[in-house]
Symmetry: none
Amino acid sequence: MANKPAPDASRRSERSRRAIFDAALALVGEVGYDKLTIEGIAARAGVGKQTIYRWWPSKAAVLLDAFGSVVEEYDQVGLPDTGDLAADLKTVLRATADEFNDAAWQAPYRALAAAGANDEELSRTFVGRLMEPGTRVYVDRLRAAQEAGELDPDIDLRIGAEMLLSPFSQRWLMRTGELTHAFVDTLVDQVLRGLRPRD
Amino acid sequence: MANKPAPDASRRSERSRRAIFDAALALVGEVGYDKLTIEGIAARAGVGKQTIYRWWPSKAAVLLDAFGSVVEEYDQVGLPDTGDLAADLKTVLRATADEFNDAAWQAPYRALAAAGANDEELSRTFVGRLMEPGTRVYVDRLRAAQEAGELDPDIDLRIGAEMLLSPFSQRWLMRTGELTHAFVDTLVDQVLRGLRPRD
Amino acid sequence: MANKPAPDASRRSERSRRAIFDAALALVGEVGYDKLTIEGIAARAGVGKQTIYRWWPSKAAVLLDAFGSVVEEYDQVGLPDTGDLAADLKTVLRATADEFNDAAWQAPYRALAAAGANDEELSRTFVGRLMEPGTRVYVDRLRAAQEAGELDPDIDLRIGAEMLLSPFSQRWLMRTGELTHAFVDTLVDQVLRGLRPRD
Amino acid sequence: MANKPAPDASRRSERSRRAIFDAALALVGEVGYDKLTIEGIAARAGVGKQTIYRWWPSKAAVLLDAFGSVVEEYDQVGLPDTGDLAADLKTVLRATADEFNDAAWQAPYRALAAAGANDEELSRTFVGRLMEPGTRVYVDRLRAAQEAGELDPDIDLRIGAEMLLSPFSQRWLMRTGELTHAFVDTLVDQVLRGLRPRD
DNA sequence: TAATAACCGAGACGGTACGTCGTGTCTTTAA
DNA sequence: TTAAAGACACGACGTACCGTCTCGGTTATTA
């Protein structure tokens, strides 16, 4: 069954791993995902191609690990809870909008989202590792609001979070609209109107 | 400046054009977008490579045309308007969910969405030609409801439509969840609660 | 059966063919056969690797063709026949010895002889194309002498030629001795003693 | 100057040495010299690569040692001397022909002869260790005959031996002809005619 | 009605990258 | 302390496609 000899992870060169991540992120920003090549990453990292192939199955997997290792440092301790749900959401989503408009994030994120669309295996990892944790903090914040009686107890919070986040992501990914602060504010307002308790 | 000789479209072989579309759609379903090649399309279509390069700049463009020519046949008679907005939306979105779960649609649609993420030019065309018209019929239906007093007059209808469609597309594209009828129903309900007139 | 698509020889680029020959011969002289690579030949010739793989199965085959195309220009109109067999043989073998001591010939010839030892298919071509014609002119000259009564009519002329040529080639190929004029003279004398008519 | 750490030969593992020889000989027979690799030998021998690199500079050197250790067991008890030189030579050469037609000998012998053609250093060792001793016994036997008055006293015995052995080796190495008993007999007769005393 | 363009199928070409294999060096683990 | 195991940087392998470029051979106007 195990048709790959399974390399010995304990002997792995941390130096090379880091250099590969740096090279991959730098290159995807410089030349774009389509022109990102394993050969190019190896050359930039000063590493043999085999060292990449030994540990990752594809350039998408390399990029996912590289980007993941960066993103996870940033990763959220949760959303603020000032008691004003709408304000809290607007604050965070405005900041996120700014972040998504930053070129350094665009290339790898877009690349991974795109690669995931055509590769189910990859998309499971991408979603599980990078998107799901982000979504969860929104669900958690909504739950806190629900428990505080600010949201209707019958609401599906997961879908509520998606109503907030998906229009946001979609606009960015497909370039169907700008991620302005005005957009964020209107979105939060219209979504929350649907989630609040009925009179 | 005119660095492309601009082929004479009137002499174009309709036979070849069709064969290329058929080949592209068949192949993207069989081998996936990443392994779809111009050479492969040409061979399958019984066509010289140059015939493809003469008329399209990339495999994405070929696929977009091919898929577009299929999709546009199906397209837009508008949404039903029975007077019951929620029911109308559920009906159509349930049908769309079934369609998106159909394997024949998946490959080319995913491929184009993905290709668009990394290619701004392509994504403009993709969105403008295939996604925007679909969104517009929802906006139109919402506007009709708004004019009938079923929706709050201050609502941003474009964002309203996105609240409905983006969670739907996102789940499918990123495989973050199933497109079930139950999901569709809950989504419609929670969205419409936010759009209806305040008491 | 024919599992190779068989390239269309009529469209072949003569320019590339020549450039490949030149590059192969130059490189084998510069770096030796073991470090001769298809990639190196392609680069030096300004040619794609595939252009080499399309027409030849191995670097040995390329070199054989390249060397063959050079050698065949030189190729013998036959041995001199002054009536004095021993003198004729000495003249020609001395010249050949000088030629074999020339560095330009050494590399490709040695390389092909060596490659042939491990590759039966190749050695058949090498022998048939480059060695056999050379041997034949000796057999022909011996036959003329035999018909003139200078050699015993019962002699096996092919073996006679081998007695002359093999010690010569062997010394050179295996470096078991120098190819001096003195060696040539003694060899011719001792061989001819064995071939002349018995009293 | 001493740029190699010079491993301590006294601590050397005899077990590994043998295993490496066995593996090298087995593999050269199975896959041929070109596909013989150090890695392959190490794996087959159950030995680390470094153990090979520590003691030999190349795969040719390993094979030479391996083959040498086998050949030297067989070696040289000298040629028979029944008083009938022609008969003695025919006997031995016929036996040698049979031996050369044996597949087990072919691969390593051919491989080494070929490798030697392109590697002067190696060829000196190959010739000195494996070929020269074989030639010498012929020279010795011819000298005995010369001293017994069966051969002309002015004959160059080394060249005489080459007239006998080179056509033989050459036929085999370059596959220019079969090593039949008939060939051996004719060769011996024609050579000896040239070496015998003149009337 | 011939000539003269174009598109067309075909596929060779110079290239780039693929993913694999072997080289020779170096380090880690276990006897 | 030595040897197995094997990760590493490197370089070449032989293959697949890229996009460009002829090559005949149909069409399908234009002279």
